[in-house]
Symmetry: C2
Subunit: 165 residues, 2 copies
């Protein structure tokens, strides 16, 4: 895909028929101006993360083929991998039936300070490195990634952890 | 997984270390009491839909192994497939690093009124049946599913379309 940022126009939402069955791109942003985005690895189809985009983050992603996301805590657009090197190069962008959620299909970059290709700031490839299991009639999380792809203390040295309690 | 609904307890969020690296399930619901959920087909790893869950929808899903979602427009929990037959049987449930999004890995049911196994009310298998393409320096949507899996006018006869402009 190659298109200039100022040529990217999202269409107005006029009819349910056009939104669901048409070829016009008319994404629906929520009351906060955001749309949820699922990031999937192109090669493995693995879900890597769930995030939000605003209008400009989606347009910048389309214009550059590099995933840009919107940070709700920092209230700012960020280019994925700018600090870490773990970029998300866009292969495809999908939108759903009512055009209120997005999929980025991406190829992963490698941490500039060392490690294997990965996406999650904790050190794992995917943010979804744990699944729910039931053990002795209690819920627990089980790790499905057995080791980290990089050392987050090296890759994100001096950077605040984005996770909030 | 087999556990009674009243045995399902979500832990309080006490430390970032425990949330990210621990084995306690402590999902973070947003200001509206919701958490985004990505539904993935077990057999193909295809992303089928993006939705929201509230506390009880997640607990009912875990207790029954049948996906329950929360409808923001109807302000109610719904059992996927109750009307159509296109159920989502749970294989696995993943949660992400900061525990504010969920993946349901599911097997699909078949429409009771006829058709192939599918998930999307428009008639396609996945809700993500279109991708963005650039044609003559303009954005367009291209269909990636070439034909519908069922006829929505038969399967959802007399039911309002959930899509809103």
């Amino acid at each position: 895909m190659k298109i200039n940022l100022d040529r990217i126009i999202f269409e107005n939402r006029k009819s349910i028929k056009e939104i669901e069955e048409g070829t016009l791109l008319s994404p629906k942003f929520n009351d906060e101006g955001l749309i949820p985005c699922v990031t999937v690895e192109n090669e493995t189809k693995e879900v890597l993360m769930v995030s939000y985009l605003n209008d400009l983050a989606l347009k910048k992603t389309i214009a550059t083929n590099k995933a840009h996301y919107y940070s709700r805590s920092r209230k700012a657009i960020w280019l994925k991998g700018e600090i870490s090197g773990m970029t998300h190069k866009i292969n495809e962008i999908y939108i759903d039936d009512d055009q209120d959620s997005i999929i980025f299909v991406v190829s992963l970059g490698i941490p500039t300070k060392g490690g294997k290709k990965a996406s999650c700031h904790v050190g794992y490839k995917s943010c979804f490195y744990r699944k729910i299991k039931i053990s002795e009639n209690k819920l627990q999380l089980e790790f499905t990634e057995k080791e980290k792809s990089f050392d987050p203390e090296i890759v994100y040295e001096g950077i605040d952890n984005p996770t909030k309690i």
